[in-house]
C-alpha cells in the first residue's frame, strides 16, 4: 500500500539503493529502481531518493539509464541543486560513441525543466545539430525548442534559427518535420515558421518519404502557404491528389482541409475533393475504434452543412449498430434526419421507429425527436408512427411524442386535425403536461374531451410541483374559456381562486392576477391579448438547415471544434471561433452591410460587418436570452416603421439581421426578437414599443441588446445599422 506509510517506504528504498550488496547485484539494483518509478507513477513523492538515483545513472545498462533519466526529469525542477550533479554524467554520455546513448542523454538533459539549464545544454545541442546520426539530430532539433521554452523572453538566437532553416534540407524526414516544429515554437511571437515558395515546394516533394504522422503535420503547416498563381496552385493540388485517398484517416482529412483552403476560389475543385474524401470519411464512420468513428461522424456532419446531398446514397451507413455507444447513435440519428429524401424516407423512418423502443430512455426520446423533425416534411407517415407509439403507454415515449405533436402543429398547421384526433384518443394518461396543455388550450375546439382533461389537472393542482406547468395551465384554461365557455367557466373560477389565494409562487400568482383582470375587462379584450397565432409555418424555415458556404466551417475542419460541440449551441461556438480569422473575408462577402452603415446619418463608428450564420432555434434563443444580461438599452426616439411586417423582416434580412419572432402588427405592446452575428459574437436584441412600465415614451421604440461574448464595438455597430434600417423604412413609409 504505497499511500500509507509512504515515508517508511522511501526510507526502505533508500536503504536498499545505498546498500553495496544490492549495488553489486545488477538485477536486484535495477529491480529497486523500477520500484521507485512505479511509486512515482502512482503519485508518491520519492524525490528524497534523488542522490541515490543520480548514482544509479552511471551504468552501461541503457534500460536502467532510461528509468533513471525519467526519474530525474520528473524531479529536476524540485531539486535543481542535486540535478546539477547529474549533468556531468549526462554531458559525458553526450559524447558517447553509441548514437543511441548520445541521443538519449541529450534528450533527457533538455527535458530538465529548471532555471539556468541553458548554459549546460547549449553546447551539446549545437554539437548535436551537426551529429552524423540522424537520431541525435532529431533530438537536438527539438532540443532547440526546449531551450527556448526554458527562457521564453530572451532574444532569439539568429544562428540557431538559420541552422534550423538549413536543416529543413536534411535527408532524414523526421529531422525535417522536427525543424518545422522547433522553428514554429521559437518564432511564435513573429508568427511562426515562414513557409515561402522554395520551402513549400521542398516539403511537397518530400511528402512521399514522410510517415503518416509527419505527412499530416506538414499538410497543416502548408495551410499558411498561398500559391502565387493558379498554375502553381493546380500543380500543388495534383501533387497532393493521391493523399486524399490515404489509408490513414488523419492524412486524408488533413489533405482535404488543405484542398478546401487552397481552392477557396474554385468551388468545383472543392466539390471534387469532398467527393474524393467521402470514401475515407465514410470508412472512418465504420472504423473499429469508436472514438475514430465518432470523429468521422462529426466531420461528416460538418461537410453536410455545405453539401447535404454528398452522403445521400450512403444513408444506410448511418443506421445504428446495436452494440454502439449512445453518443454515436445520437450523431447517426442527427445525420439520418438530414439525409432524408423522397426515396429513402420509408426505410429511414422504419429504422428510426425500431430505436423508439430502445432500453435507454434518452435514445428513445431522441429517436422520437428525429421522427418529429422528419414529420415537418413528411407529416403523414410520421404521424402514423408517432400515433402507434402512444399505444405503448410508456411515460417517456408518450411525453416525447406529445412534445413532437406540439412542434408539428406549430410548424405544419395542415396536420392539426390529425394531431387533435390522436390526442383525443390518448389523453387518458397524459405525461408531458406543458406541451399537452398548450395543445389543449390552443386547439380545444377540436378536441372534444379537452375540458375534462384540463379539469383533471385543476383538481390535482395541489400536488403539482412545477410552476411552469401551472402557468401553462392558467393560459390554457383562459384560452379554453374563450372557445368553450360553458364547460370551462366553473373550473376556471376554481383555478384562479386557488392560484391567487393559496399559491406561494409569485410568478404563478401574477399570471393568475393578470388573467383575472383581463377577464374583468371583458371577453373581447381577453381574446385580443391571449390568442396569438396558432401556428407559424414560416418558422420552419428558421429551424431548417440552409446550405452554407464551405468557408463557414473549413477553418475548424480537422480540429477539436466539431467534436467538442456538445453544449447547447454548438454551432455558435464553432462559428465564433471560426469568425476571427476570416472576418476580413466576410467583409468582402457582405458589401450591402457596409453600404448601409455608411448611409446611416449619425454614423461615427468604424465599419462593422454582420453575418447571418446558421439559424438559431427558438429554444436556443430563449435559453440564451434568459441567461444573458442586457448590455445596452436604447430608446430609438422614433416609433417603429409603419410598413408591413414582411417588409421589415426583409429589410432586416438584407443587412444580415435575422428575425426570430414578432407580435402581429396591431398588438400593444409590440415586440420583435432579432439576432445576428458579427466578428465572433452573437448579438440578440429585443425591439419593444408601448412598454406598459414606461408609459412616457409610449410611441418610441426601445432596443435591448444582449451579446455573447461581449464586444462593445460590435454592439455599437449593430445598433447604428439597425437604426439606419428603421429610419430608412420610416422615411419610405411616410
Amino acid at each position: 500500500m504505497p499511500y500509507f506509510g509512504s515515508e517508511e517506504m522511501v526510507k526502505e528504498l533508500k536503504r536498499a539503493l545505498s546498500n553495496p550488496n544490492v549495488q553489486a547485484d545488477r538485477l536486484r539494483y535495477k529491480n529497486y529502481i523500477t520500484k521507485v518509478i512505479r511509486y512515482m507513477t502512482q503519485g508518491l513523492d520519492v524525490s528524497a531518493l534523488f542522490m541515490d538515483m543520480v548514482k544509479a545513472s552511471a551504468t552501461v545498462d541503457i534500460a536502467q539509464k532510461k528509468l533513471v533519466y525519467l526519474y530525474m526529469c520528473t524531479y529536476a525542477s524540485d531539486k535543481p541543486d542535486l540535478a546539477l550533479l547529474a549533468i556531468n554524467t549526462l554531458r559525458k554520455d553526450c559524447a558517447d560513441p553509441n548514437p543511441m546513448v548520445r541521443g538519449l542523454a541529450l534528450r533527457n538533459m533538455c527535458n530538465f525543466r529548471m532555471p539556468g539549464m541553458t548554459e549546460y545544454i547549449e553546447q551539446p545541442i549545437v554539437a548535436g545539430l551537426r551529429d552524423k546520426a540522424s537520431y541525435v539530430r532529431r533530438v537536438a532539433v527539438l532540443g532547440c525548442a526546449k531551450m527556448h521554452s526554458l527562457q521564453p523572453n530572451t532574444d532569439i538566437d539568429g544562428t540557431i534559427v538559420n541552422e534550423l532553416y538549413a536543416l529543413l534540407r536534411d535527408p532524414d524526414p523526421v529531422v525535417v518535420v522536427n525543424c518545422l516544429r522547433a522553428l514554429e515554437e521559437i518564432l511564435k511571437d513573429e508568427g511562426g515558421v515562414v513557409i515561402n515558395k522554395p520551402i513549400a515546394h521542398h516539403l511537397l516533394n518530400r511528402m512521399k518519404d514522410l510517415d503518416s504522422w509527419a505527412q499530416s503535420e506538414v499538410l497543416t503547416f502548408l495551410l499558411r502557404y498561398r500559391p502565387r498563381s493558379d498554375d502553381e496552385l493546380f500543380d500543388i493540388l495534383s501533387l497532393l491528389d493521391s493523399f486524399l485517398q490515404s489509408a490513414h484517416a488523419h492524412v486524408a482529412v488533413a489533405t482535404l482541409r488543405l484542398f478546401l483552403q487552397l481552392a477557396s476560389a474554385h468551388p468545383a475543385v472543392q466539390a471534387d475533393a469532398l467527393l474524393c474524401t467521402s470514401a475515407p470519411l465514410l470508412a472512418t464512420c465504420g472504423a473499429a475504434s469508436r472514438e475514430l468513428r465518432f470523429a468521422g461522424l462529426c466531420h461528416v456532419q460538418q461537410v453536410m452543412r455545405s453539401q447535404p446531398g454528398l452522403f445521400g446514397t450512403h444513408y444506410k451507413r448511418f443506421f445504428c449498430g446495436y452494440s454502439e455507444p449512445t453518443y454515436i447513435k445520437f450523431r447517426k440519428m442527427e445525420i439520418l434526419v438530414e439525409l432524408v429524401n423522397d426515396e429513402n424516407v420509408a426505410l429511414v423512418l422504419e429504422e428510426l421507429r425500431s430505436y423508439c423502443t430502445d432500453v435507454s430512455p434518452e435514445l428513445a426520446q431522441a429517436a422520437i425527436a428525429a421522427i418529429g423533425r422528419i414529420a415537418q416534411t413528411y407529416s403523414e407517415k410520421c404521424l402514423d408512427i408517432l400515433t402507434g407509439l402512444l399505444a405503448l403507454k410508456q411515460d417517456h415515449i408518450t411525453s416525447a411524442v406529445i412534445q413532437m405533436f406540439r412542434d408539428l402543429v406549430w410548424f405544419c398547421p395542415q396536420s392539426t386535425a390529425a394531431v387533435c384526433q390522436t390526442v383525443e384518443a390518448c389523453v387518458d394518461s397524459p405525461q408531458d403536461s406543458e406541451a399537452l396543455l398548450w395543445l389543449l388550450g390552443e386547439h380545444g375546439d377540436q378536441i372534444s374531451s379537452a375540458p375534462y382533461v384540463m379539469e383533471g389537472y385543476i383538481d390535482g393542482l395541489k400536488t403539482e410541483l412545477s410552476s411552469a406547468v401551472k402557468m401553462e395551465l392558467l393560459t390554457a384554461s383562459v384560452k379554453m374559456f374563450l372557445c368553450r365557455p360553458a364547460e370551462t367557466q366553473d373550473m376556471l373560477g376554481r383555478l384562479l381562486h386557488y392560484c391567487i389565494e393559496e399559491e406561494s409562487d409569485v410568478c404563478v400568482r401574477d399570471r393568475a392576477l393578470l388573467c383575472y383582470r383581463l377577464l374583468q375587462r371583458g371577453v373581447e379584450e381577453t381574446r385580443k391579448v391571449v390568442t396569438g397565432p396558432k401556428s407559424d409555418p414560416s418558422m420552419s424555415v428558421l429551424t431548417g438547415r440552409q446550405e452554407e458556404p464551405i468557408s463557414q466551417w473549413a477553418s475548424t475542419f480537422n480540429t477539436l471544434g466539431p467534436l467538442s460541440g456538445c453544449d447547447l449551441c454548438p454551432q455558435t461556438a464553432v462559428i465564433s471561433a471560426a469568425d476571427q480569422p476570416s472576418s476580413s473575408a466576410e467583409k468582402e462577402l457582405l458589401p450591402e452591410s457596409t453600404d448601409v452603415t455608411l448611409s446611416s446619418p449619425d454614423d461615427t463608428e468604424e465599419e462593422i460587418s454582420l453575418s447571418l450564420g446558421p439559424p438559431l432555434s427558438h429554444e436556443t434563443f430563449e435559453k440564451m436570452w434568459l441567461d444573458l444580461e442586457i448590455l445596452q438599452r436604447q430608446t430609438m426616439g422614433f416609433p417603429r416603421p409603419r410598413t408591413a411586417l414582411d417588409t421589415l423582416q426583409a429589410a432586416l434580412q438584407l443587412v444580415k439581421i435575422q428575425t426570430l419572432a414578432f407580435t402581429p402588427g396591431a398588438t400593444v405592446p409590440w415586440k420583435a426578437y432579432i439576432y445576428t452575428r458579427s466578428t465572433g459574437t452573437l448579438i440578440l436584441a429585443e425591439l419593444l414599443q408601448g412598454d406598459q412600465h414606461a408609459p412616457g415614451i409610449d410611441e418610441s421604440l426601445v432596443v435591448s441588446v444582449k451579446q455573447q461574448p461581449v464586444n462593445q464595438h460590435a454592439i455599437r455597430g449593430f445598433v447604428s445599422i439597425l437604426k439606419g434600417v428603421l429610419q430608412t423604412l420610416n422615411v419610405d413609409s411616410s
Binding site: Q42, D211, E217, A249, V253, G286, E291, A295, G321, Y322
Partner: protein, 427 residues
C-alpha cells in the same frame, strides 16, 4: 502537440503518466477522471476540455488512453496515435489489460520516450522502435510476447525467439441487417456492410519480401462487369503505404516487406450485394398467448456450408417492458437462455452451430399488464457470432510466400475469421 499522456485503469488508478512539456500539473489526471465518470451515456466523451486543456481519449482493453493538449490539433491524428500506442503495447506485452500494463510499465515508458518527444510524434514504426527498446516484456505466461498460444502452432521447443511464423489473417467484420416478415418466405436483405482487412503478423527477425496472392478473379468496384462466374468482388479497398502493387492488377499479388508485429496490409469494404446468403435466417413468430403472456417462437437456420460452424452465437430479443419471468424450451442442453429484465431483453446463447442445421426455441414470457401494443416492443432481434474459416466476401489467400525462400524454421499460417458487428433482424 501533446502535453501529457496517461493511461488509467477503469477504476482511475494511474498506470502510466508522462509529462512532455511541463505545462500542466499532475492534477489534470484527476480532473480528467472526474469529468469522464460524471458524463451521462449520451454525452460524447471523446474530447473534453477543462480550463483550456483538452483531453482526448480512447478506450482500449478496458483502459483509458488519454492525451492532453493545449493546442487545437487534428482529432484524427491524436485518436489514431492513441490507438497505435495501444496496439504497440499489445504487440509488446502480449495482451492488453490492466495487469499487463502494470507489469510492463517500464517498457511502456520506454516506448513513449521514443515515440513522442516534447509532445511531437516521432515514430510509431515497429522496425525503428525495436532498435531502441531495451526492456524485455514481462508476462505471466511463458511465451506470450507475441500472443500466439491460441493458434496451437507452437510446441515447447519453438519458444526460441528466432522461430517466428509469418501469418496472414483475413478478418472481415460482417454486419448485415435482414428484414424478415412473419411469413415463412425468405426475408429481404436490407443492408449489409462488410468491412474486412488482411492483417499480417510477422515475427521473423529479418524479413525479406513477402508475396501474398489473392483470388485471381477478385474484382474491385461496382462498375466492373461481373461475368458469369461467381467472381469475388469488393467495393473499395485500401492498402498500407508500404505495399507494392505492381503485380496486383494482373495477378492479384501484394508484395510487402513486413515489419515485426501486426500490420494491416489491406482494408476492403463491400456494401449491400453479398456474394452469398447471410449466414443466419430467422423465422420468428410472436403471439399473445392468454392473459399476460407472450409466446415467442424462434426458428433459426444456419445457411453456412455444412462443413463450417458458427461459434458463440448469441441472440438478443427485446421483450416488453415489465417482463417478470420466462420459461423456455430449447432443443439441446448446451444452449442457454435467460431473461435480463434490466435490458428488457432475453438472451439465447448457442455455443456451436453447425452449417445447415436448424434450431428452434420457444419462450414464454410473463408480462403483467400486457396490451396488444406491447408486442411492438418485441424486436428487432440482434445476433452476435463468430465464423471461423469463413469470409463473407469469398476473398481467399491463394498463397503466402517469402522470397527469397528462407531456410530454417519459419512457419506460416493463414486464418480466416468473420465477426459479426451488428447483425440485426427485424421481426
Amino acid at each position: 502537440m501533446i502535453s501529457q499522456i496517461f493511461i488509467l485503469s477503469s477504476k482511475g488508478d494511474h498506470l502510466i503518466y508522462k509529462d512532455f512539456r511541463g505545462e500542466e500539473s499532475k492534477d489534470s489526471i484527476n480532473v480528467f477522471y472526474e469529468m469522464v465518470t460524471a458524463l451521462s451515456g449520451d454525452q460524447p466523451p471523446v474530447v473534453m476540455s477543462h480550463k483550456g486543456l483538452h483531453f482526448i481519449h480512447a478506450r482500449q482493453g478496458g483502459l483509458y488512453w488519454v492525451a492532453s493538449t493545449k493546442t487545437n490539433p487534428s482529432p484524427f491524428t491524436i485518436i489514431e496515435f492513441l490507438n497505435r500506442l495501444a496496439a504497440l503495447t499489445k504487440d509488446y506485452c502480449g495482451s492488453l489489460s490492466e495487469k499487463s500494463v502494470r507489469m510492463n510499465f517500464a517498457l511502456i515508458y520506454e516506448l513513449l520516450d521514443e515515440m513522442v518527444d516534447f509532445g511531437y510524434i516521432q515514430t510509431t514504426s515497429t522496425d525503428i522502435l525495436k532498435n531502441f527498446i531495451q526492456t524485455e516484456a514481462v508476462s505471466s505466461k511463458p511465451f506470450s510476447l507475441f500472443d500466439l498460444s491460441n493458434v496451437g502452432l507452437f510446441g515447447a521447443e519453438t519458444q526460441q525467439s528466432k522461430v517466428a511464423p509469418s501469418v496472414a489473417a483475413s478478418r472481415p467484420i460482417m454486419s448485415s441487417r435482414g428484414e424478415q416478415y412473419n411469413s415463412k418466405n425468405h426475408g429481404v436483405l436490407m443492408k449489409a456492410d462488410i468491412h474486412g482487412e488482411i492483417k499480417i503478423k510477422c515475427f521473423l527477425p529479418s524479413c525479406s519480401e513477402m508475396r501474398i496472392g489473392l483470388n485471381e478473379e477478385l474484382s474491385i468496384g461496382k462498375s466492373q462487369l461481373k461475368g458469369y462466374s461467381s467472381a469475388v468482388r469488393v467495393d473499395e479497398c485500401r492498402f498500407h503505404q508500404a505495399v507494392k502493387l505492381d503485380e496486383f492488377d494482373t495477378f492479384r499479388i501484394l508484395k510487402v516487406c513486413p515489419s515485426q508485429g501486426e500490420q494491416t496490409v489491406m482494408q476492403y469494404q463491400l456494401c449491400d450485394e453479398l456474394p452469398c446468403a447471410p449466414p443466419f435466417q430467422l423465422f420468428p413468430s410472436v403471439e399473445k398467448d392468454y392473459v399476460n403472456r407472450v409466446l415467442i417462437f424462434l426458428k433459426l437456420r444456419c445457411d453456412l456450408p455444412p462443413k463450417s460452424t458458427a461459434l458463440n452465437v448469441s441472440i438478443t430479443v427485446p421483450v416488453p417492458k415489465g417482463s417478470t419471468s420466462m420459461s423456455q424450451e430449447l432443443s439441446s442442453p448446451d444452449q442457454t437462455a435467460e431473461l435480463q429484465p434490466k435490458n428488457k431483453a432475453l438472451l439465447w446463447e448457442i455455443p456451436r452451430f453447425p452449417g445447415g442445421a436448424q434450431l428452434s426455441a420457444l419462450f414464454k414470457v410473463d408480462v403483467p399488464g400486457l396490451s396488444s401494443a406491447s408486442l411492438l416492443e418485441v424486436g428487432p432481434v440482434s445476433m452476435s457470432f463468430e465464423l471461423p474459416k469463413q469470409t463473407c466476401t469469398g476473398l481467399q489467400i491463394r498463397f503466402l510466400r517469402l522470397s527469397p525462400t528462407q531456410t530454417g524454421l519459419s512457419q506460416r499460417w493463414v486464418r480466416y475469421v468473420t465477426h459479426s458487428d451488428s447483425y440485426t433482424i427485424r421481426i
